[in-house]
C-alpha cells in the first residue's frame, strides 16, 4: 500500500498544477472528515484506499491523490468562512446548497470527547494551546485537529462571553449550530468561564456528557438568566446573589436541633425502603454537612472551581463506599430535600429548592455505580 502512495507522489512531481472547481462546490463528506481529523493528504489517501473507494470507482492512486488534494484545498479555502458561519450563508465565493452548509458547519464544530475532556474547565489561553501537543499525544488526536477544536472553543467563548441573553440561543444564532451541539458548546463555555476543575484523578471517570449535563443544570438554575430571562445579564456567570444566599443554608448544620430534626424526618421517610438504611442513618450528618458546606463556600471562586471534586469527596465517595445504588441515592436526596421543607424553623425554602434541585440531578448523573 505504501508503495502505491509513493509512486503517486512521484507522478505528482510533474503535475505542476491541478485544480477542479465546480459551480456547486463539490465536497465529499468522507474526505471532509479526514481533513477535519487533521490527516495529511497522503495519510488521507491511504485511508481512502483502505476504504475501498478505488475499487468501487475504478480509480487509480493518483486520481485519488488529485481528488484528495483538491478537496483539502477547497476545505482550506472554506475554513475562513467556517470560522464565521454566518458568513458562509451569504458569501458569494462558494455556491453550496444549504443542507451542505449545515453539514459543513456542524462537522467543523464537532469535537472529540477525548479532547474536550482534556481542556474542559481550563482557561482557553495561549498557554493551554501550547500544551496541546501533550493532549494530542495523550488522546491520539492529531495536533491539527486539536488546534481546530481548541480554536473553535475559544472562538465561541470570545463571541458569547460578552453577549447578553440565553447562552445556548446566542451560540445557535452566531454559529448556526444544531441544538445539541450548541448545548455542548454552552457547557464548554460555562466550564471555561468558571474554570471548574475537571482534570483531577478522582474526576477522571466522568465523561464530557456528564459534565455537560451538570453545566446545563447550573446554567438553567444557578445563573441570573435562569431566574429571569428578561434580565440583561450574562448566562455564563453564576448568580452572585444566590451564592450569597446559600450561606444562609448553614443553619441546617450549624443548628443542632435543626440537624437532628432533619435527620429524623429523613430517616422516618426512608425506613424500610432501602437496604442501606443503616448506612444512611449513620452517614446523615456527614453527608448533610458536606452538601451544606459546599453551598456555603460557593461565594469563593476557588471553591466554585472545586465544586465537582467536592461533590465527589463529600458525597459520592462515601455513598459509593457504602455501596448505595443510584436508586438509593435518588431516594435519599429526594427525602433529604423534601424533609427540609417541613422544618418549621428553616426559612430559606426557595434557596434550598434552587440549590438542591441542581445538586440532586448533578449527583445522580455523576453517580456511576
Amino acid at each position: 500500500m505504501l508503495l502505491v502512495v509513493n509512486t503517486a507522489a512521484v507522478v505528482k512531481m510533474s503535475v505542476e498544477l491541478d485544480v477542479f472547481v465546480g459551480n456547486t462546490t463539490i465536497m465529499d463528506k468522507e474526505v471532509y472528515q479526514l481533513w477535519l481529523n487533521g490527516y495529511t493528504v497522503s495519510d488521507a489517501v491511504k485511508v481512502r484506499m483502505e476504504g475501498g473507494v478505488m475499487e468501487e470507482c475504478e480509480a487509480s492512486a493518483d486520481v485519488l491523490l488529485s481528488d484528495t488534494m483538491d478537496q483539502f484545498r477547497t476545505f482550506q479555502m472554506c475554513e475562513r468562512l467556517l470560522q464565521n458561519p454566518a458568513k458562509l450563508a451569504n458569501q458569494l465565493l462558494f455556491q453550496i446548497p444549504p443542507d451542505r452548509q449545515a453539514m459543513l458547519i456542524e462537522r467543523y464544530y464537532a469535537f472529540d470527547d477525548a479532547f474536550v475532556r482534556e481542556v474542559l474547565g481550563k482557561k482557553l489561553s495561549k498557554g493551554t494551546k501550547k500544551d496541546l501537543d501533550d493532549v494530542s499525544a495523550k488522546t491520539g488526536i492529531t495536533l491539527k485537529s486539536c488546534r481546530r477544536q481548541f480554536d473553535n472553543f475559544k472562538r465561541v467563548f470570545k463571541v458569547v462571553e460578552e453577549l447578553k441573553g440565553p447562552l445556548v440561543e446566542n451560540i445557535k444564532q452566531h454559529f448556526l449550530l444544531p441544538d445539541p451541539l450548541a448545548r455542548d458548546y454552552a457547557a464548554i463555555v460555562f466550564f471555561a468561564n468558571n474554570r471548574f476543575e475537571t482534570g483531577k484523578k478522582k474526576l477522571q471517570y466522568l465523561t464530557f456528557h456528564d459534565f455537560a449535563f451538570c453545566a446545563g443544570q447550573l446554567i438553567n438554575n444557578w445563573t441570573v438568566g435562569a431566574v429571569d430571562n428578561m434580565v440583561e445579564d450574562m448566562d455564563v456567570d453564576l448568580d452572585k446573589e444566590f451564592l450569597q444566599d446559600l450561606k444562609d443554608l448553614k443553619i441546617l448544620i450549624a443548628d443542632k436541633d435543626l440537624l437532628d430534626q432533619h435527620k429524623s424526618l429523613v430517616c422516618v421517610a426512608l425506613r424500610g425502603k432501602t437496604k442501606v438504611f443503616n448506612e444512611m442513618e449513620a452517614n446523615f450528618k456527614n453527608l448533610s454537612r458536606g452538601l451544606v458546606n459546599i453551598a456555603a463556600k460557593l461565594t469563593n471562586p476557588k471553591d466554585v472551581r472545586d465544586f465537582f471534586i467536592d461533590l465527589i469527596e463529600k458525597f459520592i465517595e462515601p455513598c459509593r463506599s457504602d455501596r448505595w445504588t443510584a436508586t438509593d441515592v435518588n431516594l435519599y436526596l429526594t427525602h433529604y430535600t423534601n424533609s427540609a421543607h417541613i422544618l418549621d424553623s428553616f426559612k430559606h425554602q426557595t434557596v434550598w429548592t434552587r440549590y438542591m434541585g441542581v445538586i440532586k440531578s448533578c449527583i445522580l448523573r455523576m453517580y456511576h455505580e
Binding site: 510533474s14 503535475v15 498544477l17 491541478d18 485544480v19 486520481v63 483538491d70 458569494l92 465565493l93 446548497p97
Partner: protein, 1164 residues
C-alpha cells in the same frame, strides 16, 4: 443626450480590515463612468457600511453606454496618507440597453482586486434611461441582442437568418507599454481589464451596427476572442450570426405587454415617463425591424406600406415581420443612388429620409405620447414625431418605398417572395448570385453606411465577392434548415506578428482572417456546398508566431424558407416526405467526387447516396436518427519542434502542421471505427504551438448514424509476413482490436439492423436522373483526391504496422480507457440516445499543468505523456462526479496550451448532468419520442416563418417553385461556386503540395472527410429538448445561479434572456506560496470568476447562465519570484428559467413527470 445612467450605492459587507489599529475600515465608494466620477460619503469604522447614497446620474452618449463599463471603486479613507483601494467592480450595462433584457441591475457584487481577489461585497443599483436618437448614422447600436448560444435561443424563433458578422479591434497591450515599468502591477492589471472591457464593448457595438445594417436585430452564436499578441498588441475579435428573431408568443401570451411593461414597472413613477418612450424609441430607431412584440401591432403597417413593395405576397400575419425587414433595405437601396458611391460621412438628406421613415413604421410610437419631446434631438431636428404618425406615414413612407420598387429589385433578392420572383425572371446571372450572397453575409463591412455598400456591391462584384462569407456560427438549426452536410472544412495559416502600428486601422489582422475565410469558402465549394455552418475561428500564439485557424462544416442549407405565401403548400408537401433525409446525402457529384469516398445507398431511404463516414463541427441535428449512444472521441498528438526564431520558426511550424492534422485525422478515424461508429459531431481541432513542440487535440462526439453504413472492422497487416513470432503478435493484436470493437458495440448499444451492403460502384442509380446539375470542379477534385484523409476506400480498414511507430499508434488506440459504468461523455450539447435527464447538473472547470521533466523527449514519449494527461484528467473527472451517476458529461471542452517550455496546460469545462436511474431506457425512449413529437411541432411552427438565407442557394427557390421538391433538397446549381473557381483551385493545390512536398509556404488549409447520410424513420430519435426531469433540488433560500455550457437546462423553460455576460479578469500574486502555490492560486481565482459571473447574473435578475464558456485561461508563473498571473475570459447568456413543473402542466409533461419524480440528484 441619448442616455442617462443612474447608479446608487447601497451598502457593503464583509469588507476587509484596512486599519490594523482599529480592526475596522473607513470605506467610501467612487462611481465612475467615462470621465465623470462621483463619491459617496465615508462610512467610518465599519466592515458592513451602509452608504445608501443618492442616485448618481451620468448623462452620456449611447455609444459610450455600449463601450464603457460602470466602474465602482471601494476605498478606505485615510486622513493622513493616500486612500487605499479595497477593490473594484466593473458592471457591463449593455443588458440595460436592450428593451427586452434586464431593466435594472441590483444586487451584491464581489469587490474584486487583481492582487487580493475578492474582498467583500457591495450592493449596487443601476438603471438606464435611454432617449431617442433618430440619427440613422449614429455609431451606437443599442438594442441589438447578443447571444452566445449556438442555436436559435429557446424563447425566440428565427424570422430571418442574415448571416455572418465579424469585427476586430486592436490596441496596444497596456502590459507592454513603457508606463508599465513604473506603475504597480495592480494599476497595470486594472488598465488591462478596463481596456479589454472597453474593446469588447466597442466590438459589440460595431457588430451591432452591422447587424442593423443587415436589417437584423440579434446576433446568435456570438464568439468573442482575445489574442494577446504581446509586444505587437492586443486583438479582440468576434464573429457571429446576424438574425432577426421574434419572441415566441406562446411563452408570453400577451406579446405586446411585456415590452411595454418591460422598462416601466420597476422604475419609479418619476422615471417611467422617460423610460417607456426610451425603450420604444430605441426599437424604432434601430430599424431593427423585427421585434417580438411588434408582430401583431405592426400588422396595420405592413399591410399599408409593403403592399406597394411586395404585391405578390400573401399577407399572412406572421409575414409582417419579413416585409419590414425588407423595407429597410428597400430604403437603403433607394437612398444609395442618391449619394452615389460616396463612402464619406452620411449626408443630412439621407438621415432625414430615413428617420422620417422609421418612426412611422413604428407602431409603438403611437402608443406613447411623451416621446415627441424626447425624440426631438438635435440630430433629427427636422423630423416631426407627432403622435399622429399614421398620417405622417402616409406622407413620407410611400415616397421612399415607391422608388425602390423600380430600382432595387436586384438588391432585394434575399427577401422571401421577391427572391422567387426575381430568380425566375432574372435567371441565374452570376452577378445576382454574388450579390445574393453578399447581401446576406455582409461580412466585413466597415464603418461605411449600409446603403452604400449595397450599391458598391452591385457595381464591383468581383471585389465584393471576396468579402462575402456565407458562414454561420450556429451549430444547431431549426429542423429542415440543414439540407446536406458535406464535411469539415478547415484552414490554418501561420503568421508572423508585427507591431500594430495604427490601432484604428487593423487591416493586417483583417486581411489575415479574410484570407482564411476565403479558403474555407473555397473548400466548401469544393465539397459542393454553398455555406459553412458551425463555423469558428481561433488562434494560438507563441512569441511572434501566430497560427490562425478556422473550421466549419460545409453544408447546403434550405432556401425553401425564403419563399412565403404562395409556396407554402409545397413546403407542406415536402414535409410529408421522409424528413431531413438530405442531411446525410452527399452534396457533391458522385462521379466527380472531391475526394474518394465509398458511397452506399442511404440506409434509411435507400434512394440517395451517403458516404461511409461523416465528420462535422455541428451538433447532432434534431432530426438525425442515431443507433445506440454516442461517446467522446479524442485524438491527441504532440510533436517536437526545434527552437527557432521568426521566419524560420514559422516555416518549421507550417511544415509540421499538415502532418499533425493528418495524424489527428487518422487517429480520430481509427478510434471511431474502434467504437463501431460512423460519424463525428462537434469536431474541434485545436493546434497549440510552443517553443519546442506542437500540440494537437481533436475532440468530437462519435455516433452511429443509422443512415450511414456500418463501419468495417480494423485489420492489421504486418509488413514482413515471414517472421512467425511477428505474425503471432499481429494476430494477437488483431484479436484484441476485434474484441474491443465488439465490446464497444455492446457498450454503446450499437446494433444496427441487418442490411445487405451494396457498394455503389459504377452503376448510375436512378436518383441521378433527378435534375441535379453538378458543378464541374474537376481540377480541384483531382487535386483533392490526393488528400485521401478518410481512407474510405477499404472495406475493412487496414492498419499497416511497418515500424515501431505504427505499433505505438495501435497501442495508444487500445489504451483509451472506456468511461466507467454509469458515465457517458460527449462534447456536443447532449448525448444522442439519452432522454431521461434530471435537472441535477454540475458545471465545472478543471485545469492541469504538466511539467515535462525530461527535455529530450521523443515524439512517442511526448505523445504518451500528453495522452496520459488527458486520460487521467478525464478519469479524475469521472471520479469526482461519481456521486451523480448515472450521468453524462456534456459539452466537454478541452483547451490545450503550451504556456512555457516544458509545460503543457489542459483546461476542461463541461457540465455533468444526472440521468434518471429509475426510468428504464424503454421508458425514456417512449417519453423521449413523445416530447420529440412536441418538439417537432414546435419546430415546425417556427419554420413557418421565413428563414432568409444569405447563402447562395439559387436553385432551390426555383425548384420548389416548380414543385420539384425533392426530398433530399436539390443541389444548387454549379454556377455560383464556379465563379471563384480558379482561385480556389490555386489554394487547394497549393495546400496539397504542402502536404506532399512540405512546401515552405506559410499559409495552409485543409479539406477533411465528408459526407452525408439519410434516415428514414418517420420518428427520428432526437435530443429531446423538452427534457423532462424530476424536480429534485430542495428549494433553497439562497439565490442559486446555475451555470451550464449548454443552451438549455433540462426540466426547465427559459422565459427570458437578460443579456450577454462577457467578463475578463486578471489575477496576480506576489505571494504565491502563501496562497497555496499555483494550485491554490488558480483554484481560488476560478472560484472567484464563477462567483462574479453568478453575482452579475443574479443582479440582472437571472437564475442561470447558459452557453457558458471559458474562452481563455492564460496562466503564467514564476515560482522563484513567488509570483503568478492568470487571465480568464468567460462568456455566456444570463437567463431566467422556470421549472417545467411550475408551468401549466401539459398532459405529456405530467406523464413524464410522474415517471421521474422518484429519483433525486445532487442539485444545481
Amino acid at each position: 443626450m441619448p442616455g442617462k445612467l443612474k447608479a446608487k450605492i447601497v451598502a457593503g459587507r464583509h469588507l476587509p480590515v484596512m486599519d490594523r489599529a482599529s480592526d475596522l475600515t473607513d470605506a467610501f465608494v467612487e462611481v465612475k463612468f467615462g470621465n465623470t466620477t462621483f463619491k459617496t460619503d465615508v462610512c467610518p469604522k465599519s466592515l458592513n457600511p451602509q452608504w445608501n447614497s443618492e442616485w448618481f446620474k451620468f448623462e452620456v452618449d449611447d455609444e459610450d453606454l455600449q463601450d464603457e463599463p460602470l466602474q465602482i471603486t471601494v476605498l478606505d479613507h485615510d486622513t493622513y496618507s493616500a486612500n487605499d483601494a479595497i477593490g473594484k467592480v466593473y458592471i457591463d450595462i449593455d443588458p440595460l440597453l436592450c428593451s427586452e433584457a434586464a431593466t435594472v441591475i441590483s444586487g451584491w457584487f464581489p469587490i474584486y482586486d487583481t492582487i487580493h481577489g475578492i474582498r467583500g461585497e457591495i450592493n449596487v443599483l443601476v438603471k438606464v434611461d435611454l432617449f431617442n436618437d433618430l440619427n440613422r448614422f449614429r455609431q451606437s447600436s443599442c438594442g441589438v441582442k447578443f447571444f452566445c448560444t449556438m442555436s436559435i435561443p429557446r424563447c425566440f424563433r428565427a424570422m430571418v437568418i442574415h448571416g455572418f458578422v465579424e469585427e476586430l479591434v486592436v490596441n496596444e497591450d497596456p502590459e507592454y507599454q513603457w508606463i508599465d515599468r513604473i506603475r504597480t502591477p495592480r494599476a497595470s492589471n486594472e488598465a488591462r481589464q478596463r481596456l479589454i472591457s472597453l474593446m469588447s464593448g466597442e466590438l459589440q457595438r460595431k457588430i451591432g451596427l452591422k447587424v442593423l445594417e443587415m436589417g437584423g436585430n440579434a446576433v446568435v452564436g456570438y464568439l468573442q476572442c482575445f489574442d494577446l499578441e504581446g509586444e505587437s498588441g492586443l486583438v479582440v475579435r468576434a464573429i457571429g450570426t446576424a438574425c432577426t428573431l421574434d419572441k415566441i408568443s406562446s411563452t408570453c401570451p400577451a406579446a405586446v405587454v411585456p415590452n411595454l411593461s418591460n422598462s416601466s414597472p420597476s422604475k419609479d413613477m418619476k422615471d417611467s415617463l422617460q423610460a417607456v418612450p426610451s425603450t420604444l424609441g430605441c426599437r424604432s430607431t434601430h430599424s431593427s425591424p423585427v421585434h417580438s412584440a411588434s408582430s401583431r401591432l405592426s400588422q396595420g403597417f405592413s399591410v399599408s406600406v409593403p403592399t406597394l413593395l411586395f404585391a405578390g405576397m400573401k399577407n399572412r400575419q406572421r409575414s409582417s415581420e419579413g416585409p419590414r425587414a425588407r423595407q429597410c433595405r428597400a430604403v437603403f437601396g433607394e437612398e444609395a443612388p442618391g449619394v452615389p458611391l460616396s463612402s464619406g460621412p452620411p449626408t443630412p438628406l439621407r438621415a432625414q429620409t430615413f428617420s422620417s421613415f422609421s418612426p412611422s413604421k413604428s407602431y409603438s410610437r403611437q402608443s406613447s405620447s411623451s416621446d415627441t419631446e424626447l425624440s426631438l434631438t438635435p440630430k433629427t431636428a427636422r423630423i416631426c414625431l407627432s403622435p399622429s404618425s399614421p398620417l405622417h406615414q402616409c406622407k413620407s413612407s410611400p415616397l421612399p418605398t415607391m422608388v425602390p420598387r423600380s430600382r432595387t429589385p436586384p438588391l432585394l433578392h434575399v427577401s422571401q417572395s421577391d427572391t422567387a420572383m426575381l430568380r425566375k425572371s432574372v435567371s441565374f446571372s452570376e452577378d445576382l448570385l454574388l450579390v445574393a450572397s453578399g447581401m446576406g453575409s455582409g461580412g466585413s463591412a466597415g464603418k461605411e453606411a449600409g446603403p452604400l455598400k449595397a450599391l458598391l456591391r452591385q457595381q464591383t462584384q468581383s471585389a465584393l465577392e471576396q468579402r462575402e462569407f456565407p458562414f454561420f456560427t450556429l451549430t444547431g438549426f431549426p429542423v429542415g434548415f440543414l439540407l446536406h452536410v458535406g464535411g469539415v472544412v478547415s484552414a490554418r495559416s501561420v503568421k508572423l506578428l508585427d507591431r500594430i502600428h495604427n490601432p484604428d486601422e487593423p487591416e493586417t489582422r483583417d486581411a489575415w482572417w479574410e484570407e482564411i475565410r476565403q479558403e474555407i469558402k473555397s473548400h466548401a465549394k469544393a465539397l459542393g456546398c454553398h455555406a459553412v455552418v458551425g463555423y469558428s475561428e481561433s488562434t494560438s500564439i507563441c512569441e511572434e508566431v501566430c497560427i490562425l485557424s478556422a473550421s466549419g462544416t460545409a453544408a447546403i442549407l434550405s432556401s425553401r424558407f425564403m419563399q412565403d405565401g404562395a409556396l407554402d403548400t409545397e413546403h407542406r408537401f415536402e414535409d410529408t416526405a421522409p424528413p431531413a433525409c438530405g442531411f446525410c446525402h452527399i452534396p457533391y457529384d458522385e462521379l466527380n467526387m472531391p475526394f474518394p469516398a465509398q458511397l452506399t445507398y442511404c440506409h434509411c431511404c435507400r434512394r440517395h447516396k451517403v458516404p461511409d463516414v461523416l465528420f462535422t463541427t455541428i451538433d447532432v441535428p434534431t432530426e438525425a436518427s442515431i443507433t445506440g449512444k454516442g461517446c467522446l472521441i479524442q485524438a491527441r498528438l504532440c510533436r517536437t519542434k526545434k527552437k527557432a526564431q521568426g521566419e524560420g520558426n514559422a516555416t518549421a511550424i507550417s511544415n509540421l502542421l499538415p502532418f499533425l492534422e493528418y495524424e489527428l485525422h487518422t487517429q480520430l478515424l481509427n478510434k471511431l471505427k474502434l467504437r463501431g461508429m460512423n460519424a463525428l459531431f462537434g469536431l474541434r481541432v485545436q493546434i497549440s504551438v510552443g517553443d519546442t513542440m506542437l500540440l494537437g487535440l481533436a475532440s468530437a462526439t462519435g455516433v452511429y448514424l443509422t443512415a450511414l453504413p456500418s463501419p468495417g472492422g480494423i485489420q492489421i497487416a504486418g509488413k514482413t509476413p515471414s517472421d512467425l513470432t511477428y505474425e503471432q503478435h499481429v494476430s494477437n493484436m488483431q484479436k484484441k482490436i476485434n474484441d474491443t470493437i465488439a465490446k464497444n458495440k455492446e457498450l454503446y448499444e450499437i446494433s444496427p439492423p441487418e442490411w445487405v451492403e451494396e457498394v455503389i460502384g459504377s452503376p448510375i442509380p436512378e436518383s441521378r436522373q433527378r435534375s441535379r446539375i453538378f458543378r464541374s470542379h474537376s481540377e480541384s477534385s483531382d487535386e483533392v483526391l490526393e488528400l485521401d484523409l478518410s481512407h474510405g476506400k477499404k472495406d475493412a480498414f487496414v492498419l499497416e504496422i511497418d515500424d515501431t511507430d505504427a505499433i505505438e499508434d495501435i497501442h495508444s488506440l487500445l489504451t483509451d480507457a472506456p468511461t466507467p459504468p454509469g458515465f457517458y461523455s460527449c462534447n456536443t450539447e447532449i448525448m444522442p440516445g439519452i432522454y431521461n435527464w434530471t435537472s441535477s447538473l454540475q458545471m465545472f472547470t478543471s485545469v492541469r499543468v504538466f511539467r515535462l521533466s525530461n527535455a529530450n523527449l521523443t515524439n512517442q514519449g511526448l505523445n504518451k505523456i500528453f495522452n496520459d494527461l488527458c486520460e487521467n484528467l478525464l478519469k479524475s473527472l469521472y471520479f469526482k462526479l461519481r456521486s451523480m451517476v448515472p450521468c453524462c458529461l456534456c459539452h466537454v471542452n478541452f483547451i490545450v496550451a503550451v504556456p512555457e517550455d516544458e509545460l503543457i496546460q489542459v483546461a476542461v469545462t463541461a457540465v455533468a448532468m444526472s440521468l434518471d436511474k429509475d426510468q428504464t431506457q424503454e421508458n425514456g425512449r417512449q417519453s423521449g419520442d413523445k416530447t420529440l413529437m412536441k418538439a417537432i411541432t414546435e419546430n415546425e411552427e417556427q419554420l413557418q416563418f421565413p428563414l432568409e438565407l444569405s447563402a447562395e442557394c439559387p436553385s432551390n427557390p426555383l425548384s420548389s417553385a416548380k414543385g420539384l421538391s425533392e426530398v433530399s433538397g436539390p443541389l444548387p446549381s454549379a454556377r455560383a461556386p464556379s465563379v471563384d473557381h480558379s482561385s480556389f483551385t490555386d489554394r487547394c493545390s497549393s495546400w496539397i503540395e504542402q502536404i506532399r512536398l512540405k512546401a515552405h509556404t506559410i499559409r495552409r488549409g485543409s479539406i477533411k472527410t465528408t459526407s452525408s447520410l439519410e434516415k428514414s424513420s418517420p420518428l427520428p430519435d432526437s435530443r429531446s429538448r423538452s427534457l423532462r426531469s424530476n424536480r429534485s433540488c430542495p428549494s433553497s433560500s439562497v439565490a442559486v445561479v446555475k451555470m451550464t455550457p449548454l443552451s438549455f437546462l433540462p426540466g426547465t423553460k427559459i422565459i427570458k434572456y437578460l443579456g450577454i455576460i462577457n467578463m475578463f479578469f486578471i489575477r496576480e500574486t506576489t505571494s504565491l506560496r502563501e496562497e497555496g502555490g499555483v494550485s491554490g492560486f488558480l483554484h481560488s481565482f476560478i472560484a472567484e470568476v464563477f462567483a462574479m459571473v453568478r453575482a452579475h447574473v443574479a443582479a440582472l435578475g437571472g437564475n442561470a447562465v447558459v452557453s457558458y464558456s471559458m474562452k481563455e485561461c492564460v496562466f503564467m508563473e514564476n515560482p522563484n519570484k513567488n509570483q503568478a498571473q492568470c487571465l480568464i475570459n468567460v462568456s455566456g447568456d444570463a437567463v431566467i428559467f422556470i421549472r417545467e413543473s411550475e408551468l401549466e402542466a401539459t398532459p405529456s409533461q405530467t406523464q413524464s413527470g410522474n415517471v421521474q419524480t422518484s429519483s433525486n440528484g445532487e442539485g444545481t
